[in-house]
């Protein structure tokens, strides 16, 4: 059997490894194709390479030896065509490759909107998603004094932090009234906002980007905001989200059914025979269900592993685990579990704030049970929090046992009794 995997991100690579664990090289030939980089690397660590905390080679989670040992073939090229009847794909180099099973793990690409003045821009506008974006940022940094970052999400903060590290004067433009309302309540958003400002970034909320200005050479020279303000900038980082990377699939010979992403059922099958999809590009759900798009690392990893099972003929029915994630905004750690994002208004929450430090806990609950956690400023064991949500524990139980889920370093545990506590309805 020849399994061809397009995309060597975490979904594609984990799928390849999962298949190899079960089938020897005699039984399965595995080919990984990606145009971005010959080896799997961690997209999540791009900012550390940009800030020189890491060397590019260290971004690779597996030793290069591993591919040789596991007999996983790699091709660095772009897939430009797919013929499901002939079971072949075509590369930009012109070569065709036949497959028995095909996994599309092509990830996501940065979202863009047609800003005014965009057509004149030839240089200076950057995204921060791919290795090529990193190259681009690195090339421009030397000739940049001022930068603007657009978009109040995680990639935006990472980009802003990297710019600050390189001594640029950074303005961070967010459309919403505070930072990241998609995931944080107003109080937490304010705390993060303070942290962002404390690092010398001008955080501009409630503003949209109106125009992009560029000089004669086509290099970004500044931006205009919706209130008429003008910000000079030689670099403009646009981080307003990612969308599944599926546009190229509209032009291929046999195109799988597409929604916002590649439509797959709960066993990762597309509408084409022997073609599967997983990771950031996959939109999961049977007919009639609200399709599910998860663009986070753990999901892509889990989906890749599950899709491998489906490719090998297992009965697979993917349901995402109770949501969890964690991140860091400059120095502030953040853990979220369960329902925290876009909850209906009227949801009750217990909001706990440390007397003097930027440490908070928000526990969302209803009469019967806790529903979600949003923890800022200290470390938490999400497995336990997740367990409490799954077990439908009531708020009283969770409050009493909260310390069990603390994951701070030795000597560094915050005293949970030192928190001011009040109920806040969202």
């Amino acid at each position: 059997m020849h399994v061809v995997i397009v995309g060597n991100g975490v979904a594609g690579t984990e799928a390849a490894l999962a298949i190899r664990r079960r089938l020897s090289p005699q039984d399965a030939r595995i080919t990984l194709i990606s145009e971005e980089h010959p080896y799997f690397f961690s997209r999540t660590a791009l900012m550390y390479a940009y800030m020189e905390k890491m060397q590019r080679r260290d971004l690779e989670p597996y030793e290069r030896e591993m591919y040789r040992r596991q007999k996983i073939e790699r091709i660095q090229n772009r897939v430009v065509d797919l013929d499901a009847d002939a079971h072949t794909i075509t590369l930009r180099s012109g070569a065709t490759l036949s497959y028995d099973r095909l996994l599309l793990a092509v990830g996501a690409r940065p979202r863009m909107v047609p800003f005014e003045g965009l057509e004149k821009v030839k240089d200076g506008l950057v995204h921060f998603v791919s290795m090529q974006d990193l190259d681009h940022c690195e090339r421009l940094t030397w000739s940049t004094e001022e930068a603007v970052v657009l978009g109040g999400g995680l990639i935006g903060v990472e980009l802003a932090e990297s710019f600050v590290h390189h001594g640029l004067k950074v303005s961070f433009v967010v459309r919403e009234p505070y930072f990241w309302p998609a995931a944080l309540a107003a109080e937490e958003g304010e705390i993060i906002g303070e942290e962002i400002r404390r690092h010398g970034i001008e955080l501009i909320v409630d503003q949209e980007l109106k125009t992009i200005e560029s000089d004669e050479a086509g290099r970004v020279s500044g931006v205009g905001l919706s209130d008429g303000h003008h910000l000079p900038a030689q670099m403009l980082g646009v981080a307003i989200g990612v969308v599944p990377n599926v546009d190229w699939l509209r032009e291929v010979k046999s195109s799988p059914e597409l929604g916002r992403g590649i439509r797959v059922d709960r066993s990762f099958r597309t509408s084409l025979p022997d073609v599967f999809a997983a990771g950031d590009c996959a939109e999961i759900g049977a007919d009639g269900e609200v399709p599910l798009l998860e663009t986070i690392w753990y999901s892509a990893k889990l989906q890749g592993q599950r899709a491998a099972g489906a490719i090998l003929g297992d009965e697979v029915s993917y349901t995402p685990p109770i949501f969890y994630n964690s991140s860091k905004f400059f120095g502030i750690e953040y853990t979220t579990v369960g329902e925290c994002v876009g909850v209906p208004s009227g949801t009750r929450s217990l909001y706990r704030r440390h007397e003097s430090r930027p440490i908070t806990q928000r526990i969302l609950f209803d009469e019967a049970q806790v529903r979600g956690f949003s923890m800022l400023g200290s470390r938490w064991d999400h497995t336990l929090l997740q367990q409490w949500v799954a077990e439908r524990r009531p708020l009283s139980y969770v409050r009493e046992h909260l310390h069990r889920a603390q994951f701070d370093v030795e000597f560094g545990r915050v005293d949970l009794s030192k928190f001011q506590e009040e109920e806040r309805t969202l």
Binding site: V10, S42, T44, A45, Y48, A49, Y50, M51, E52, K53, M54, Q55, D58, L59, E60, P61, E63, E65, C137, E138, T141, W142, H165, H166, G167, W297, Y298, K301, L302, T319, P321, I322, Y324, S326, S327, K328, G331, E333, T335, R379, W380, D381, H382, T383, L384, Q386, Q387, A390, E391, R404, F407, V409, E410, F411, G412
Partner: protein, 370 residues
């Protein structure tokens, strides 16, 4: 990408094996060479002794005390930098303060003060098999009783016992001067250690070979002390093994190679590949209570932990497999946990993982429902 400006260049060059780093290594080599061989002649060429005059000018008893002073300064200054850098992490602040304190007192002032009172110069921070001499009968007999007891009890009981409870870290990250220097002045060079599985394979052999040599030398020296008078050839052999071990292991590996290679090979080269004490503690911690706990499914494989592990452990390899681990070479410095942007790792001293009624797998597969 390095920061702009000439300071950015220098910082990058020094910490990424550039010419400045090589120069520093060369300088350190020269320093150690003169320190060890100054005043002697090698192959007919006299080596100038630069440090004795400095020591005299400072009214220090010998160039070794002067070296101790430099070492203590390096740990204190490097330590201040580390405390500042990790000021939000209480574990690192306390650990580094202890390292500085131990070096300044037990490893520097106390031995020096002892000589002022005409006592033998004794370092309370070193134990066998790191300090082999403390187990040689000739040394033991020249010591006052409390020192003998400290050597014996410390090495044979305290080391393994604390190792069982706290792993190697109580010694290698809190007490030992060698590790102290690596964790403080060596901090900017952490990321240079070799993470490859080849290095791991080498480390497993090399460290156990030095341990074997250390045990053999100790045994032979003790035996020759007991029976040496009757077997002069044996005594001679034992003595030459003893001095060979002293030269290769103590001088070459721990001093010259151990420290001078910091800027190009990363810190802890000696600790990881050669230290016999590390070998013993590593074995003990494998079976003890110490472990690095990994939060399930939370690792984003970014690799910060592996990059900053000064023992070259590929922490990420465990974290992305959701596997708690103890590696023999792990010195429990806690930096992997500190730099992890997702708070996935924690050093733990428990026999078992926190008992949980429900495992993560059960949660993912939803078996908890039925």
């Amino acid at each position: 990408m390095r920061q702009k400006g000439s300071l950015g260049w220098l910082k990058h060059d020094l910490t990424h094996r550039g010419p400045t780093a090589w120069l520093l290594t060369l300088g350190l080599f020269a320093f150690y060479f003169i320190l060890y061989y100054g005043g002697r002649t090698l192959a007919g060429v006299p080596i100038p002794d630069l440090f004795t005059p400095i020591a005299q000018a400072l009214h220090l008893p010998s160039k070794w005390t002067f070296y101790g002073l430099l070492y203590t300064l390096a740990i204190a200054i490097g330590g201040a930098y580390v405390i500042y850098k990790y000021r939000h992490n209480r574990y690192q602040v306390i650990r580094t303060s202890v390292v500085i304190f131990v070096q300044a007192t037990l490893a520097f002032s106390v031995p020096w003060i002892l000589t002022i009172f005409e006592q033998p110069e004794y370092y309370f921070s070193y134990l066998w098999p790191l300090k082999m001499e403390y187990f040689y009968p000739s040394t033991i007999l020249s010591m006052p009783l409390p020192f003998i007891l400290f050597s014996l009890l410390g090495s044979l009981i305290m080391v393994p016992l604390l190792g069982i409870f706290f792993g190697k870290r109580w010694y290698c990250s809190w007490v030992c001067g060698c590790g102290g220097l690596a964790n403080t002045a060596g901090e900017p060079f952490r990321h240079l250690s070799n993470k490859s599985s080849k290095a791991w394979a080498f480390e497993k052999w090399s460290i156990h070979i030095t341990l074997f040599l250390a045990l053999l030398t100790t045994a032979l020296v003790i035996a020759s002390w007991g029976v040496g008078e009757n077997y002069p050839v044996f005594a001679e052999q034992a003595a030459s093994l003893r001095s060979l071990y002293g030269f290769v292991v103590a001088t070459l590996l721990s001093g010259i190679i151990g420290v001078a290679l910091y800027p190009v090979g990363g810190t802890r080269v000696w600790c990881r590949y050669f230290c016999p004490m590390a070998a013993i503690l590593g074995l003990v911690q494998k079976f003890g209570r110490y472990r690095i706990r990994v939060k399930d499914n939370m690792c984003i494989s970014c690799g910060m932990c592996s990059t900053y592990c000064e023992m070259g452990i590929d922490v990420r390899a465990y974290a992305q497999r959701n596997q708690d681990f103890v590696r023999a070479s792990c010195v429990g410095c806690g930096i992997c946990a500190e730099v992890c942007p997702r708070g996935v790792l924690r050093l733990e001293n428990r026999w078992r993982r926190d008992p949980q009624e429900l495992s993560m797998d059960a949660l993912l597969n939803e078996t908890y429902r039925g």
